[in-house]
Every structure is written in C-alpha cells, then in structure tokens.
C-alpha cells in the first residue's frame, strides 16, 4: 500500500489532537465529574448527618420531657408540703393569738372588776358614813372618822 509522508502528517495531527482533547475536553470534564461526585457524596453524608442529628434531638427531647415531668411532680409535691406548712403555721399563730387575746381579755376583765371594786369601796365609805349618820341622828364627819372608815373599807 502507498505509505507516504501523509503518515507523518497524520501522526502529528493525532498527537496534536490528543494534546488538545486532554487540555480542552478531558481535564475540565473530569474535574467537573469529580466535583459533582464529591458534591453528591457530601450531600449524602450531610443527609445522613441530618438524620442522625434528628434522632439525637428526638432522644434529647424525650429526655427533657421526662425530666420536666419529674421536676413538675417534685415542684408540685413541694408546693403541697409548703401549703400544708403554711396552713399549720397559720393555725398555730391563730391559736396563740387567740390565747393571747383571751388572756388579755381576762386581765382586762379583772382590772375592770378591781376598778369597780375600788369605786365601790370609795362609795361604800360615804354610804357607810351616811348610813351611820342616819342611825346616830347626826352628821358623821368623814374626816374625824377617817381611820374608822378606812378600816371599814379595808374589810370590804
């Protein structure tokens, strides 16, 4: 067959084309495909991570819920206890206050009674003097018989 200088021309053309294809088509395309591969892999990894995070969050939420429930129960128990305490305290206070009031009232009553007695005592002296004057038919001088009257008042 007729092999001639065309062969060399074609070899040069082939090698040049090879260089160009490598530079213009293969490299950018390969980079692109690799970048896409990476992006897809990253996306899948991110999806997996998201799923995992969701699971963790759900678990944590459940834990939080349980904790909150127990805390609420505790708080309620404490509140109840405290309420009871307050009631008890109030009762106690009321009782002591009542007692105090009763004592004070009793004291006042006694005082009043004493005061009345004193008044009565004072009046008893003059009544007694007036009574005695009427009996004796003359005026009994309170001043002259002060000692006697005092003695009498003391006896009442």
């Amino acid at each position: 067959m007729n092999i001639n200088v065309t062969l060399i021309a074609q070899i040069i053309a082939f090698v040049t084309l090879l260089w160009f294809v490598n530079r213009v088509l293969w490299n950018p395309m390969n980079d692109l495909l690799l970048a896409r591969q990476k992006r897809i892999a990253d996306g899948l990894a991110a999806a997996d991570k998201g799923k995992h995070d969701l699971e963790l969050a759900e678990k944590r939420a459940k834990e939080h819920l349980v904790e909150a429930k127990s805390q609420a129960a505790e708080i309620m128990a404490q509140a109840e206890k405290r309420g009871n305490e307050i009631v008890e305290e109030a009762k106690e206070k009321a009782r002591t206050e009542g007692d105090r009031l009763i004592i004070a009232a009793k004291a006042e009553i006694e005082q009043e009674a004493n005061r009345a007695k004193e008044q009565l005592r004072g009046k008893v002296a003059s009544i007694a003097a007036a009574g005695a004057g009427r009996i004796l038919g003359r005026e009994v001088d309170e001043k002259t018989h002060a000692d006697l009257l005092k003695d009498l008042v003391g006896q009442i």
């Binding site: 062969l7 082939f14 294809v21 390969n30 495909l33 992006r39």
Partner: protein, 280 residues
C-alpha cells in the same frame, strides 16, 4: 457515472473514487503517490477538519460547563466520557492519566472520520470537482492506510515507551527472550515475541483500514447499480433497489463504524495495560 455499463467505466469510476488528492511526489498519469514525498491532501484536510471540529466544540462546551443539572449536549458528552473511562477502569490496571484521554480521542476521532463514509459517496467529490475544480477527492480519512497506521504507530510508540518505563530496558528485552516458552527456546521466543509485538500496530491499523475501505467499496458498488442503468425502464427496478440497498448498508455501516472505533479504543487500552503489567 451515467451512460453505458461498460466494465471499463465501472473500474474507472471506482478507481477514481479511491484515488487521493495527491500533491508532491505523485504519478502524473494515475495520480497515485509515486514515492514517499507524496501528501494526500484530502486525507489530511478531512481528518484535521474533524479534529478542529472536536476541539472547537469541546472548547465551547468547556466554557459553559454546568455542575448541577447539565443540558442535552453536555449530558451526551458526559455519557461518552463516562463510557470511555468505564472501559479504561475495567481494563487498565493502576492509574495513568494519559490513557483515558487517549482512548477518548481515538474513539471520537475515529468515529467522526468513519462517519464521513456515511455521506453519499459522490456528494463531496462532485462539489469538489464542480465548485472548486478539484478532480480527485477521497473523503474518508480512515480509508487511507496512512491515517490508520499513523494512529496505530503512535499507540505502538506508547506501548514501547510504557513497557520500558515500567519494566526497564532489561525487563522489556527479557520479555522478548524468555516469553512465551521459557529459557530453553530462546531463539523461538525472540521470533515469536517480535512477531507478537509487531502484530499489534499492524493489526490495529489494518483492521480499521480494511473495514472502512471495504465499506466504502460496497457503497461505491451500490451507487453503480443505479448509475449503470440510469436511463430506460430498467431504472424503475434498479433505482428502488439501489435506495433500499444503500439504506440497508448505511444502517449496518453505522454499527460497523462505531464498532471499529470502539475496537480501536479498547485494543489500545488493552495493549497499554499489557505494557503496564509486570508478569507478561
């Protein structure tokens, strides 16, 4: 190609179509290359034009690459690249960034050059002679042995280069001496290995050339059916026959050109893979 059906004209028609546009050291009568310094201008023109087409299209595509959702053409190119790199990954051991672009270039370029075969055989030569005054034009670069051998010899050079790079000069020569029958048949081994190595570029280049040359020849013969019987009632039979045959061969040939491009690519990968493996 019209007129009488004399055998001479038929031969002339075919020969005319199989003659390259020769410049330089050419025979003035037959227009065939007479010596080494003859250049087939049509072969070089069409192969370079198709190469330039490849580069321009890829450069334009390369500027508008989309990472996310590629459009139609980018998708198509990505498919081809995926296919080629899949072939390389399947056959080629280890990693060599040279192999995949080489395979891609071979596949696409050979396919494009083969595709020229599907353009009606008389169309471009007619335009060339009618408009440009060029008398001889052979449009399919792969029907020129120079093109196929150029590629296979480049691949052969790469085979030798990687053989020596991977195994060293000694290792490569040792392969010639001790392969395939061991150390007691050294002369036989040398002959066998040399033939085996030389058969690689020869079979690679000749296979492609033979297939495309034959395909072109069949197209020419089909074109002759109608051409020889252009006038008269016979045309009513011959013309439809030509159309049907042409269409049939066209569809079949579409498979052939793809297959040939694929075979050239795969064998290149396989030969280079063999060059890269130690235990040959």
């Amino acid at each position: 190609m019209s007129g009488s059906s004399s055998g001479n004209e038929t031969v002339e028609y075919i020969q005319h179509h199989l003659t390259n546009l020769c410049v330089g050291d050419c025979d003035p009568v037959t227009h065939k290359a007479a010596g080494f310094w003859a250049l087939h201008l049509d072969t070089v023109f069409f192969s370079v034009a198709l190469g330039v087409l490849m580069i321009v299209v890829s450069a334009r595509l390369g500027r508008n690459l989309v990472t996310g959702t590629p459009g139609g053409f980018q998708n198509f190119v990505e498919m081809i690249i995926d296919f080629v790199s899949g072939q390389v990954k399947d056959t080629f051991p280890g990693h060599n960034p040279m192999i995949a672009p080489l395979a891609l270039t071979i596949f696409v370029w050979v396919w494009l050059m083969n595709f020229m075969d599907l353009i009606p055989v008389d169309l471009l030569p007619l335009i060339a002679s009618g408009v440009l005054g060029i008398e001889y034009l052979k449009v399919v670069p792969t029907t020129d042995l120079n093109t196929t051998m150029a590629m296979s010899l480049t691949v052969f050079a790469l085979i030798i280069y990687y053989n020596i790079k991977v195994k060293g000069v000694g290792g490569y020569l040792k392969m010639f001496v001790f392969h395939p029958f061991g150390k007691f048949f050294i002369p036989v081994n040398i002959v066998m290995s040399t033939i085996e190595e030389l058969a690689k570029p020869l079979s690679l280049g000749l296979r492609l050339f033979g297939n495309l040359f034959a395909g072109e020849l069949v197209f020419l013969l089909i074109a002759l059916i109608g051409g020889t019987m252009a006038v008269g009632l016979g045309a009513l039979i011959w013309f439809p026959l030509q159309v049907v045959l042409d269409l049939g061969w066209l569809i079949f040939h579409l498979l052939v050109i793809t297959l040939q491009a694929f075979i050239f690519m795969v064998l290149t990968i396989v030969y280079l893979a063999m060059a890269h493996t130690e235990d040959h």
